[in-house]
Symmetry: C2
Subunit: 248 residues, 2 copies
C-alpha cells in the first residue's frame, strides 16, 4: 500500500526513513497491536529492499514498539493501560529529577528566556478563553518544547533518552488529544507558570514537586480518557508535525 514519501526523513539513509515511517504508522495505529510484520510484504509496500527494513525493525524492537522472536519475525507490541500508567510513573519521576537538578544548578538566562517564551506563547493561545482546534498543534509544540528544555537543562542525558522512550508508547504519545476540558488545560498551563518560577528561584524541591504532580495528573487524565473509550481505542493522529525523534 502506502509508498514511502520521496524525501522522507531527510536523514539520507533509507533505513532511518523506513524506521520513522514504521514508527509513525505504529503510533498512528495503522498497524494494530499484535499484527505480524511480514518482511517481504512490508519491504515491497515501502518500496525498499528487505535489508534496510530489517535494520529498521531491529531498531524498533530495541525501542520496544515491536516484539521479536527468532525465526518467527516481528509483531507490533500490544500495550495495555498498565503499561501506560507505568510509563507515566517513570516519566513523572524522571522529569521531576530533571527539574530538581535544573533548578539546583540554575538555568542559563537563555534557557530561562526560552521557557518564558513558551509560557507567553501558551498564554496567547489560551487567552481566547477557549482552545481553538487550529491552535492545538501549536500548543502541543509549545508543551513539548517546554518539557524538553527543562530536561535538557537538567543535564542528564539518560533522563532525556528515557523520557523520550516513554513518549513512544502508542497510547501515551503526545499526539493524543486529551485537552478537551478547558479547565484542565488552564490548570496545566498554570503548572508551567509555577514551574518556571520555581526554576527561576532555584527552588529544586518545589520545582520537582510541581513537575511530578503535573506529569502524574496528565497521566491520570489520559488513562481515564482511554479507559472511558474502551481498551481497543487507538489514538487519533492530530497534526502533521513529526515528533522530534531524539530529545536534545
Amino acid at each position: 500500500m502506502s509508498e514511502l514519501p520521496p524525501g522522507t526523513g531527510g536523514h539520507g539513509t533509507s533505513t532511518q526513513a523506513v524506521a520513522d515511517a514504521l514508527r509513525e504508522r505504529i503510533l498512528e495505529g495503522t498497524f494494530p497491536p499484535g499484527a505480524v510484520l511480514r518482511q517481504d510484504a512490508l519491504a515491497q509496500a515501502l518500496g525498499v529492499s528487505r535489508t534496510p527494513l530489517r535494520t529498521a525493525l531491529a531498531e524498533l524492537a530495541r525501542d520496544g514498539l515491536v516484539t521479536y522472536e527468532v525465526n518467527r519475525g516481528y509483531a507490533v507490541r500490544a500495550f495495555d493501560l498498565d503499561d501506560v500508567r507505568a510509563a507515566f510513573e517513570v516519566r513523572a519521576t524522571l522529569e521531576a529529577l530533571a527539574c530538581r537538578r535544573a533548578a539546583e544548578r540554575g538555568l542559563p538566562p537563555a534557557a530561562l528566556a526560552r521557557l518564558a517564551a513558551c509560557v507567553t506563547r501558551g498564554e496567547a493561545i489560551l487567552g481566547k478563553g477557549r482552545l481553538d482546534p487550529s491552535d492545538l498543534p501549536d500548543y502541543r509544540r509549545m508543551n513539548v518544547e517546554f518539557h524538553e528544555a527543562i530536561i535538557a537543562a537538567g543535564g542528564n542525558p539518560w533522563v532525556a533518552e528515557f523520557v523520550g522512550r516513554t513518549r513512544n508508547v502508542p497510547l501515551a504519545s503526545d499526539r493524543v488529544i486529551l485537552w478537551e476540558d478547558h479547565g484542565i488545560i488552564l490548570r496545566s498551563h498554570d503548572d508551567h507558570r509555577r514551574i518556571l518560577r520555581a526554576l527561576a528561584d532555584r527552588d529544586g524541591h518545589r520545582a520537582a514537586g510541581l513537575m511530578w504532580e503535573h506529569v502524574t495528573r496528565a497521566g491520570e487524565i489520559l488513562v481515564a480518557h482511554i479507559a472511558a473509550r474502551g481498551q481497543d481505542v487507538v489514538p487519533r493522529r492530530v497534526g502533521a508535525d513529526a515528533t522530534k525523534g531524539d530529545a536534545a
Copy 2:
C-alpha cells in the same frame, strides 16, 4: 583475531551472538572508546558476513554503546565520569521508585523469601571476616539478584528496562570491582538487610530512601575509584558469567 565461539549465545541466530560478543568486548574494554568499527574487518574477524554484523551494530547503537553517523560508520562510544554520575543518578532514582512501589503493594511471600535468601547468602560469604576473591562472582550474582528481584517486584517494566540500560555503561558496569574495602561492603550489605526489612514492613518511604542512598553511595565510590585511577582506565572483567541481558 578472536573467532566467534561455536555455539555462542545459544540464541540460535548469529546476529544475536554477534551482538552479545560485541557488547561483551566493548564492556570488557577490548575495543577502546572512540575506536572505529570497520564492518568488513569485524565481520571477517568474527567469522560472519556483514549482514548480521550490521544488524548487531544497529542494535548496539540503539543501546547507546556505539555511535553512528550515516556513511561514516560505527564507533565505540566514549563515556566520561559525568556519564557515569548521571547513570547512577537515574539508577538511584528509578530503583528507589521500584522499592517504594514494591513496598506499597506488598511483596508476595516467594519474593520476600528470595530476598531473604540473598541476604543469607551474603551473610555466609561475608561471615569469614573478609571477602575472598573466589567468592566475588558469587557475591556479585547475589547482589544483582537482590536488586533485580526488587525491581521486578516493583511491577514497572520500564524501570527494569531502563535500569538495565544504565548497567550497560562500560565504566558503570557491575563487573567492575570496587569492593576492596571490607567496611564498604559490610555497610552495603547492611543496607540490603534494612531494605529487606522495610519491604517486609511495607514501609515504602523508608525502603525508597534506603535504596536511593545505597545506589547513590555505590556510584560515588565507583566514581572516586575511577577518578583515582585516571580517566582512561578500562574496567577489568571479573567473572565468566554473562550479564542477564533483559531484566525481567
